[in-house]
Symmetry: C2
Subunit: 132 residues, 2 copies
DNA sequence: TTTAAACTCTCCTCCTACAGGAGGGTAAAG
DNA sequence: CTTTACCCTCCTGTAGGAGGAGAGTTTAAA
């Protein structure tokens, strides 16, 4: 199938699919006359796999690994699980960072009148020298 | 003071400070003979302000706005608070997205034996066609 | 005084994961 | 035969810098 159909069926954009071809994460057959890419069912399956893995916040490099495991019927599930647990740990780190951030900002916002007076605890906090 | 000292005192890297100068978010005086940038105390204060605002996840464009308000003694705190509340809302969105992600990944990781057998619920989920 | 280390400068490329658009070829429908 | 909808490559831009080359400057030690 052509790239447009592959894009629709995988939920990716044509640009994205073309990009994945360019960086070699998938390798559809190319028609020598027209230069059109031709995606097989297996190519499509990989694109759908990629779309989902990207939604799970796996980087394209992670996806390369996952895809290699996906294609290898002899793989052990150990590696996949390790990669997943690593990703979960990353997410946890990010979550706690964001939560701290939210609390600090929330505290500042609460303290700020938000009126027309120039006094503003938010800017005060940002310009405080002692707090880093 | 030179860029190195300004960087240390603001907790930024020299590269970052130079970048901020390049994009005009700060404008230190430049020595015409040597080309060396010369940072005043006020420049330093702005760099420290920027370092903190960046930690609070404000984009450099946000920082431009905040800095303008910071420099304007006649500003009202309303604008600053609005910007902050907007940022909090962004963080909330990101938080819930990440939490959903974590749950899904966690569910998959739990279901996966993580042994040497090829069977792997994680890859199964990623390659499921019906689930999008 | 010379020299070596430490600092600074500009300019260049690279990173992630694409998006947007120019300029042109191709395919299918009317 | 023409229109419209695809498809192609190539170039640039995004955010926020990092890394490094090659060259000038300053400072401290020998």
């Amino acid at each position: 199938m052509n790239i447009g159909k592959a894009a629709v069926l995988s939920g990716l954009t044509v640009k994205t699919v073309r990009y994945y071809s360019d960086i070699g994460i998938i390798s559809p057959h190319v028609n020598n006359n027209t230069g059109y890419r031709d995606f097989s069912e297996f190519d499509l399956a990989k694109l759908q796999f990629l779309a989902k893995a990207r939604k799970f916040d796996f980087s394209l490099d992670d996806c390369r690994d996952l895809l290699a495991l996906y294609e290898n019927k002899e793989r052990s599930s150990k590696e996949v699980k390790a990669l997943t647990l690593e990703k979960i740990a990353e997410i946890d780190t990010k979550l706690s960072e964001l939560q701290m951030l939210r609390e600090q900002l929330s505290t500042l916002a609460t303290a700020c009148h938000g009126d027309n007076r120039p006094n503003c605890p938010i800017l005060d906090a940002l310009s405080e020298k002692t707090y880093q």
